[in-house]
């Protein structure tokens, strides 16, 4: 018996056969084939759009550099690449590469902190160099500052939703309700919406005689968060007992009801009570600002009023009010990330993970299910509310049309794409998708329509002009992203180890009986 050598495991499936054959090739053959394929791809794309060809060549060079021994080859290659771009006159790309290479020379132990520090520094300085950045092929120019604010707000919301979906494993399909709640709370207390009441507290940039409730937006941000968290608790208390998919559908229901109230709330059942000003929305809102006192005390560093501030020129860039909103959003995001990180391994965070992995076992170990789930809901809702309030004050308006179901799915898509449960993944996913939504899709569409004639000459039903209006298809694109991620990499692009293990749990053992039968039929 024991003399029989173990036969190699049989390889099944076309993908695995191809992979095994590829691995069996000699090393240099593989290198040669890969380089040849990359060259062909780069050349083909070069004729489509020169910049894209260069980009593919650069990216494949980068991938090859990563596999080189660090000294001397990788260093030499990096220096050559940087100097090529310097001589080609794309100094912004050369600088970006230099920073990226520099980060990878940092020892593993410190790399995480260095990346975080560099990312924050680059983000804070972004308004100063945004206009000088290189053009990305296909995606076009770098996002402008207003898009930056939008991205940061959605990163906040994604981090908030990640607490509910990623940490606690409760699928929330109505997160937009929290966003709406925050936005409307901010709007009610800092606009002319209730002209019969007259209450002023710390609001800047308005005359004291202005009717309506005007409270400083700095107070309103946490207040909106708390009102939203309270809404979350109210929604959660009756519904959190439900099983996962029922909970999802209930949250979806709330996500549809609240915007409808916002839409129809200008005249409740003919009573004439105007809560939300209906489809016209509430606008304008008061401006953010620190008031004259604080502004003088910090000699103008903290602006008195965001909308009228900022004529200073720093580093050759005239600071504008959008920039100040951008920096404030960064601070808010950092606070959100800090809270989320601290929560993750706290007692509460560990209870969330326990519930996510096995509710029954968690309850048996003494985790109070309802209270823990409600806290997840309230915390997630809080950040959604703050983000909504901040975005409303940035736009100085809130409209019911901003709160459709699409937005809930959009935020969910960010969490899934980045990697549920991993805050860095979620941030990257949110930044990318929010950028796509605001500028990226339009730019990509323009590129597709000009460079690919088959798309540029499409005549779609119901559109006046030729070509494909890519932003119109945004939700389908998110749907496609969700589908692809769930099928091929359910743990997301930057996964948390724990979630990845959960997602692939059944692949290691516990194969379903009916799939076993299926295999037997196949052979």
């Amino acid at each position: 018996m024991s003399t029989q050598p173990a036969s190699p495991p049989e390889v099944v499936g076309i993908r695995n056969v191809m992979r095994a054959r590829w691995k069996a090739l000699p090393f240099w053959h593989r290198v040669a084939i890969t380089i040849a394929l990359e060259l062909v791809l780069a050349i083909v794309l070069f004729f489509l759009d020169h910049a894209l060809g260069y980009a593919v060549a650069t990216v494949s060079t980068l991938l090859w550099l990563r596999r080189m021994p660090p000294l001397p080859w990788r260093l030499a290659g990096e220096l050559v690449l940087i100097s090529i771009f310097l001589f080609a006159g794309v100094s912004s790309l050369a600088a970006a590469l230099a920073i990226a290479f520099g980060v990878f020379w940092v020892p593993d132990r410190y790399r995480g902190k260095v990346i975080a520090g560099v990312a924050i520094t680059l983000a804070v300085l972004y308004p100063f160099y945004a206009e000088k950045m290189f053009v990305i092929p296909v995606f076009g120019v770098w996002p402008d500052i207003a898009t930056g604010v939008y991205m940061l707000v959605f990163m906040m919301m994604a981090v908030g939703l990640n607490i509910v979906v990623g940490y606690a494993g409760l699928l929330d399909l109505g997160y937009v309700a929290f966003y709406a709640m925050g936005a409307y709370t901010a709007a009610w207390f800092s606009s002319l919406q209730f002209p019969t009441h007259n209450f002023h507290f710390g609001a800047v940039g308005i005359t004291p005689s202005l009717p309506g409730i005007h409270i400083s937006l700095w107070l309103l941000l946490p207040l909106a968060g708390m009102v939203t968290a309270l809404t979350g608790i109210l929604i959660g208390l009756p519904t959190l007992r439900l099983r996962g998919d029922y909970l999802a559908i209930v949250t979806l229901g709330f996500g549809e009801i609240l915007p409808q109230i916002a839409r129809n709330g200008d005249n409740f059942f003919g009573t004439g009570f105007n809560l939300t000003n209906g489809p016209n929305g509430i606008t304008p809102l008061d401006s953010l600002g620190f008031g004259n006192g604080i502004s003088h005390a910090t000699s103008g560093f903290l602006p008195a009023n965001y909308l009228t501030c900022c004529h200073a020129t720093v580093l050759g860039h005239q600071v504008q009010s959008t920039d100040v909103f951008f920096w404030t959003a960064i601070v808010l995001l950092l606070i959100t990330v800090f809270c989320s990180l601290r929560l993750q391994y706290s007692r509460l965070g560990r209870a969330w993970i326990a519930i996510r992995e096995d509710e029954t076992a968690a309850a048996a170990m003494g985790v109070p299910l309802m209270r823990t789930k409600t806290w997840a809901y309230a915390t997630g809702a809080f950040f959604g509310g703050v983000a909504g309030a901040y975005y409303a004050s940035f736009k100085s308006a809130t409209f019911p049309g901003d709160f459709y179901f699409n937005i809930s799915v959009f935020i969910l898509c960010m969490v899934i794409l980045g990697g549920m449960g991993n805050i860095w993944g979620v941030i990257v996913g949110a930044a990318f998708l929010a950028y796509l939504n605001q500028e990226g899709l339009a730019n990509t569409g323009q590129w597709l329509n000009t460079n690919i004639h088959a798309i540029g000459n499409l005549q779609l039903p119901g559109s006046d002009s030729k070509g494909l209006d890519v932003p119109l298809f945004a939700s389908g694109i998110y749907g496609l992203i969700i589908l692809i991620v769930m099928l091929f990499r359910p743990e997301g692009l930057i996964p948390s180890k724990r979630i990845a293990a959960e997602m692939h749990e059944t692949e290691q053992h516990d194969e379903y009986l009916y799939d076993v039968q299926h295999h037997e039929e196949g052979t």
């Binding site: 996962g244 389908g476 099928l487 359910p490 039968q517």
Partner: protein, 326 residues
């Protein structure tokens, strides 16, 4: 309880205010309810077998409406004033639409849900939302962002009169399509071998597999049937309402899903009962003259019903209470 009593009082008041209007609206509600029933059955079949809320189902239904319009007007040249010739045309369109939707639904299952059989419960649910958005955009791509209109071919002459209210042929035909389809489904599920396999799979997949049932094929078959029903619903909706837009599927699908939950999800007669109730509630809300919230609030009312049912009676009106139902 209070809510139900209040609603009943409101209805009685409306009945006494204008009986003819009440009956007219009720008949409209019954007709819409029939269309919802076809869609709700699709949800309930799939949920019964996979415990998956197939969000894409409503969009398959919407595509069914689009298919109907395209097939009937482009292939069969359907237009107004054709007399009795519309009967074979409508029948042919119905069959083709049902087949198209059935195949579409079955392929969705193969591509999107089957690879996730072993994944955590929420994974297929999230995927279903993604698929729903993709199908919506397929509708947008081929039929454009505006309402697509179908010819209004059914005669509006009355079938019968009741309290001075006419019941038109256009509504009767919807019912005439729905009822045979429902009976056929009931026969299929309760009398045939394949139906027995479906019921067995719904109860326990592993045990069904041991008994020699091909579970994967049974699930595919269920999706096919659900798609056929969605296609029939699409045809009814397109020819009865005469306009379809690419983004209607999701909303109508959610309403139909509410109907399935109301009746007891996984329960076929329950889905029909729930759908008729939801159809009536919607029609009463939108059509009655005396102090009703009106169509602006239809969605809120439907979703409130959904939430109340899920919270207080998750097994629905006709369902049995299961240990994990709550």
């Amino acid at each position: 309880m209070v809510v139900v009593l209040g609603a009943a009082a409101l209805l009685l008041k409306n009945l006494s205010e204008s009986p003819s209007r009440f009956f007219e609206v009720t008949l409209i509600g019954l007709t819409t309810g029939c269309v919802y029933a076809l869609v709700a059955l699709g949800y309930t079949l799939v949920y019964g077998i996979l415990e998956l809320i197939n969000f894409a189902h409503g969009d398959v239904f919407m595509l069914g409406g689009m298919f109907t319009i395209t097939i009937s007007t482009h292939f069969f040249n359907l237009h107004q004033g054709q007399g009795a010739a519309i009967i074979p045309i409508v029948f042919g369109t119905l069959v083709l639409t049902m087949i198209a939707c059935g195949l579409l639904n079955a392929s969705i299952e193969l591509i999107a849900y089957k690879p996730l059989r072993g994944a955590p419960r929420l994974a297929p649910l999230i995927t279903a939302i993604g698929v729903s958005f993709i199908i919506e955009d397929i509708g947008l791509f081929f039929w454009g962002p505006n309402y697509v209109s179908a010819p209004d071919v059914f005669p509006h002459t009355k079938v019968f009169s009741f309290h001075g209210v006419d019941y038109g042929w256009n509504k009767a035909i919807v019912v005439a399509i729905t009822i045979p389809v429902l009976l056929g489904l009931l026969y299929l599920v309760q009398q045939t071998r394949q139906g027995k396999a479906m019921r067995a799979t719904a109860q326990d997949k592993d045990a069904a597999a041991i008994m020699g049932i091909n579970v994967n094929r049974t699930i595919s078959f269920t999706f096919l049937i659900a798609g056929l029903l969605a296609g029939a619903a699409g045809t009814c909706y397109a020819l009865y309402v005469t306009t379809v837009r690419f983004d209607q599927g999701f909303q109508l699908g959610l309403i139909a899903f509410t109907a399935a939950v109301l009746g007891g999800i996984g329960n076929l007669p329950g889905a029909v009962l729930g759908a008729v109730l939801i159809g009536l509630i919607q029609a009463w809300n939108e059509g009655l003259p005396w102090h009703m919230p009106g169509s602006d609030w239809t969605q809120s009312i439907v979703f409130s019903i959904l939430i109340l049912i899920l919270v207080f009676r998750p097994e629905g009106l006709l369902g049995e209470r299961t240990p994990e139902g709550g």
